[in-house]
Amino acid sequence: MRKFFLFSFIWVATFISGYWINTSWFSDKQPAQPIAFSHRIHAGENGIPCLYCHIYAERSTAAGVPGVQKCIGCHQIIKRDAPEISKVADYWERKKPIPWIKVHNLPDFVYFSHKRHIRAGIDCNSCHGNVAGMDVITRVSSLKMGWCIDCHMSHNVKNGRDCWTCHK
């Protein structure tokens, strides 16, 4: 009987450790991008404002990712020969868009409007974390419903708990 409890304890322990390994090392919080673009250099050191690249954030539900044309705009002159930037130039010659991997991925049935949140005075960092300090974009918040509800409750948003506010 004692052996039985021992085995079950081992099994549970290894199960939890397996789960922990997955979430910490193989997590999708920090996917590898085709080009190692560093927000720290752009937004941190050079202080480029978020809305310079993500231009649609204030006008539409989607924030939008800058086109290759915007990258080439600067990088035709600045550090053309750096290995990562030559990759950008290569995409520009082939007129192919850069296939970025989505880090903050909301399901289809969610209606999340960047415009409404920015115009309500929510700063980008409160959801995306200190992007200016990140070399590789990592998802700081869970983007799960509980997280949204807490924020809505703390800011006591009008109709914040109404399902049709966020569900399509």
Partner: protein, 254 residues
């Protein structure tokens, strides 16, 4: 002692009263003038275009599983030659005291501050209770996960979820258009004015039989129409407090 009991039950009564809040922000209402409605079904197709309603095919239609969030019901009186035909568009009445809100076990349908009967597709697990309790038969069930062939899916409206199998759905008074109207009004820093927001069926009705508006604001077109002496509501005696007001049809009685 009775005051204490009232306070106790008051809390419980609020909870029991569907809508849970004293007063709504808006009381969205549709007034349908049956004397103008000519049964042309433009609203039915506009609803299909706006809300990603699937096509079920002939065999499923024979089992009465077609998706018409709004349908035109036709009642024929009398034999040839004095035949009298009457049309009435039937859509979800967004009832104030809705029977479906009582029935749903997983809180997938409830009454929100807009005076609308919310149907949350994610939360629904398909126990059919709401559709059985609904006296107006306006709820439709996704019997299968329906497909849109090749380029037809490019027409799907991104503001409305495409429902998977096992989920109940119904007319939402085009919540995506209400939300876009409120969003637009908030951008311009003003309140939502009457006529700003129109569901797809009201917008396309060729005879102008349908009017949409907020019953709370007395100057709105809907409030004026609601004062007409021809006004009535469907199955008033069932005490479901529907938000769709019909205006009687002018017809010679036999």
């Amino acid at each position: 002692m009775s005051r204490f009991l009232d306070k106790l039950f008051a809390r419980f009564n609020i909870y029991r009263e569907p809508g849970y809040y004293g007063k709504y922000d808006y009381k969205w209402t549709i007034v349908i003038d049956l004397d103008k409605c000519d049964g042309c079904e433009a609203c039915v197709i506009a609803c299909h275009a706006e809300n990603n309603l699937p096509i079920v095919g002939e065999e499923e239609c024979s089992k009465n599983r077609a998706f018409n969030w709004i349908r035109i019901e036709r009642y024929v009186e009398g034999e040839y030659p004095d035949v009298r035909v009457k049309f009435i568009p039937i859509l979800c009445q967004q009832c104030g005291k809705a029977r479906c809100e009582v029935g749903c076990p997983t809180y997938a349908t409830y009454h929100n501050q807009d005076g609308l009967n919310v149907q949350v597709y994610n939360r629904c697990i398909g126990t059919f209770t709401c559709a059985t309790y609904c006296p107006y038969d306006v709820r439709h069930f996704n019997w299968f996960s329906y497909k849109w062939e090749a380029p037809l899916e490019q027409q799907l409206n991104p503001d409305v979820t495409v429902r998977e199998k096992g989920v109940m759905e119904k007319c939402t008074f085009c919540i995506q258009r209400i939300r876009a109207g409120k969003d637009h009004a908030k951008d311009e820093g003003r309140e939502v004015t009457d006529g700003d927001i129109q569901p797809a069926c009201v917008q396309t009705c060729p005879t102008g039989a349908m009017t949409f508006g907020d019953l709370n604001d007395p100057e709105s077109r809907v409030s004026q129409l609601a004062k007409s002496e021809r006004r009535y509501r469907l199955f008033e005696d069932l005490n479901t407090d529907p938000s769709v007001i019909y205006l009687k049809r002018v017809m010679k009685q036999t």
